[in-house]
């Protein structure tokens, strides 16, 4: 089931919430959790009931292994073996269903063969519940997990607001909530939940889907031939904004739906385009995935190398400094971002996307390390450089996103080439015609008129500008709800606190309270979203 569908919004969600509230009057934790588990599995099995077998097998196996790993009487060697078995089981399932075809493609490319891989239908949510359970297994082995019963575990993994597309929740932030699940839910929960859900729906259905209408045709054009410079830019910026509002909207809907049951999910998205560096960007985009990869891949890889580097701090020479730089930063970062790309999709273009971001991060970290040598006043540097950082980050993100959207590497490369002007630089035809005498000069340096459909460029650009304004200037949904704990781990970054609390009237105006004005706003937003549901909609993070 999708969040942006009539059956979810008008049937499943209201019915589930109402029944849940009724059940809570029985004051039984087991009953409440049992119902949530039932509803979540129903939600999951809606598309294809046979998925239920897969997820049940996964749940039972992981719970059994995890609980065994938590026990105090287990030998270290057995524990390690069991942990490996568990991780391999999870990754094996994921590989089979998600990466089988891609792995075969790689093998075919390397060895010049033609093996056929029957297309396996990708089970929903498999990337999410796989990672969630791997984290559970590792933490069980480290004995950082408080014991939970099977029912709590099932709800933790399958809770429908976060099941299909995240956030990737951590047991330690969820189990305590399920253990002490409030059986008397306040009406504020419902109001907060509905507002968040309404905002999310609006972002997805009105913002993301509108701009996708201008992005998709450009990608279609790219399949048969080249796109122009302008088209490539609209595609890059437009798609970035599309996936931004798609994912941001979904995260809000997840937060909202969960809140209606009194559950607070962790933050997953925090105005990433406002980032003034790519390092900052990755602390705002898909926060829970980055959290997972950093904890279980980056930090372990970097830790050993960093110990060695710190040990020889005094005796370092340029050779060892280079080695340390490569082992403590470059390799762990590239591997982590490569895997992030791999997780996002089974295709070469995703690997390129991931690796690009890995390279961006390495450059950013290097820059930061070299700064103290030229800059004495950090604060002045930061104030001055912030706008440049913002623009550079935006350009880097727009460029890499081309790869994310393309169906394959060839199309992506072709569009990327157009974007950097390799296929000529074009100005909108209307503007070019106004150049008068200067036309000749422009043509000489390779800038010509763009003869593709005028309206496509015009409307596409307008949408890009409007959506960019929203993403860069307006407070986001969490900022609006910030007096009511909209999400776990949400905190306003230090340098933004001064900006946000300054004399920004817009910000003060846009702070949510449970009053009539906001109730009406919520209703209107929801209605607008509902009415626009008829348009064909593609939900991007669906395929994970």
């Amino acid at each position: 089931m999708l969040f942006n569908s009539y059956e979810f919004i008008l049937l499943f969600l209201p019915i589930t919430v109402i029944v849940y509230y009724r059940i809570s009057s029985f004051d039984s934790r087991q009953l409440s959790l049992g119902f949530l588990a039932f509803a979540s599995l129903f939600f999951y099995g809606w598309w294809n009931p046979s998925y239920l077998i897969l997820i049940s097998v996964s749940l039972v196996t992981n719970y059994f292994i995890g609980t065994t790993l938590q026990s105090e009487n287990i030998q270290k060697r057995v524990k390690t073996l069991l942990l490996i078995v568990g991780i391999v089981f999870n990754l094996g399932l994921l590989s089979y269903y998600k990466y089988g075809g891609f792995i075969v493609e790689i093998v075919n490319d390397i060895y010049d063969r033609d093996i056929n891989w029957a297309n396996v239908i990708l089970p929903l949510a498999i990337s999410f519940f796989t990672f969630q359970q791997i984290a559970f297994l590792i933490d069980s082995a480290a004995r950082r997990v408080k014991h939970s019963d099977f029912l709590e575990y099932v709800v933790f993994v399958t809770f429908f607001p976060q099941l299909i597309a995240g956030p990737i929740v951590h047991h330690k932030e969820m189990i305590p909530q399920f253990s002490s699940i409030k059986l008397n839910i306040t009406s504020n929960h419902l109001k907060i939940g509905m507002m968040l859900f309404a905002i999310g729906l609006f972002k997805k259905v009105i913002l993301a889907d509108s701009i996708s209408e201008y992005v998709a045709p450009i990608y279609d054009t790219a399949v048969d031939g080249q796109v122009t410079f302008l088209q490539a830019w609209i595609a890059g910026i437009g798609f970035t904004l599309q996936i931004y509002f798609d994912f941001s909207g979904y995260s809000d809907m997840a937060l909202g739906a969960a809140r209606m049951f009194g559950i607070i999910l962790p933050i997953n998205f925090n105005s990433p385009l406002k980032a003034s560096s790519i390092i900052d960007f990755w602390s705002r985009w898909h926060i829970t995935l980055v959290r997972f990869l950093t904890a279980y891949i980056y930090t372990p890889l970097s830790l050993r190398a960093t110990r060695k580097a710190v040990m020889r701090k005094g005796k370092a020479n340029s050779r060892t400094k280079t080695i340390d730089f490569i082992t403590t930063l470059t390799i762990p970062t590239l591997i982590t971002m490569f895997l992030s790309g791999f997780w996002h999709g089974a295709g070469y273009q995703f690997l390129v996307w991931g690796t690009l971001h890995g390279v961006y991060l390495v450059i950013n970290h290097s820059w930061r390390m070299m700064l103290p040598a030229f800059v004495s006043d950090k604060k002045r540097y930061e104030r001055f450089f912030r706008p440049f950082g913002l623009v550079i980050t935006l350009l880097a993100v727009f460029f890499a996103m081309i790869y994310f959207r393309a169906d394959n590497l060839e199309i992506a490369n072709s569009m990327a080439a157009s974007m950097i002007g390799l296929n000529g630089i074009s100005l909108p035809e209307a503007i070019f015609n106004h150049l008068g005498e200067a036309k000749g000069i422009f043509l000489k340096i390779g800038i010509g008129p763009d003869t593709t459909t005028g309206s496509q460029i015009t409307y596409g650009s307008i949408y890009c500008v409007v959506l960019l304004f929203i993403a860069l200037v307006l407070p986001n949904s969490l900022d609006m709800m910030r007096n009511y704990t909209p999400a776990l781990n949400y905190s306003i970054k230090k340098h933004e606190r001064d900006d946000l609390y300054s004399n920004n009237k817009l910000v003060h105006f846009l702070i949510w309270k449970p009053n009539r004005f906001w109730a009406i706003t919520c209703g209107i937003t929801l209605a607008v979203g509902l009415m626009s549901l008829q348009r064909l909609s593609v939900f991007l993070y669906w395929q994970f």
């Binding site: 590792i138 933490d139 082995a141 480290a142 950082r144 951590h170 330690k172 390092i279 602390s283 959290r291 950093t294 904890a295 279980y296 980056y298 930090t299 372990p300 970097s302 830790l303 960093t306 110990r307 710190v310 403590t328 930063l329 970062t333 970290h365 930061r368 103290p372 781990n489 905190s491 306003i492 970054k493 230090k494 340098h495």
Partner: protein, 78 residues
Amino acid sequence: MTHDEVIRKLNTTFCEVFDDDIELSDETTAADIEGWDSLTNVRLLVQIELDFDISFSSYEIADISNVGELANIIVSRF
């Protein structure tokens, strides 16, 4: 070591690693300190290992949300 002693000692380490005047509390998170990212996080942890003469295992430090949790892990070592 008591929890407060650990926090005080951590404060010195933090000031050294981030080259800044920092006042730590249990609730301090990465959002509160400029420059505390995944890279400097690892450097910080290694420096803490040296300063406290302890050793972390990878999954122990995998998911620390704030300084209070970090202090708890250190306290449990003594």
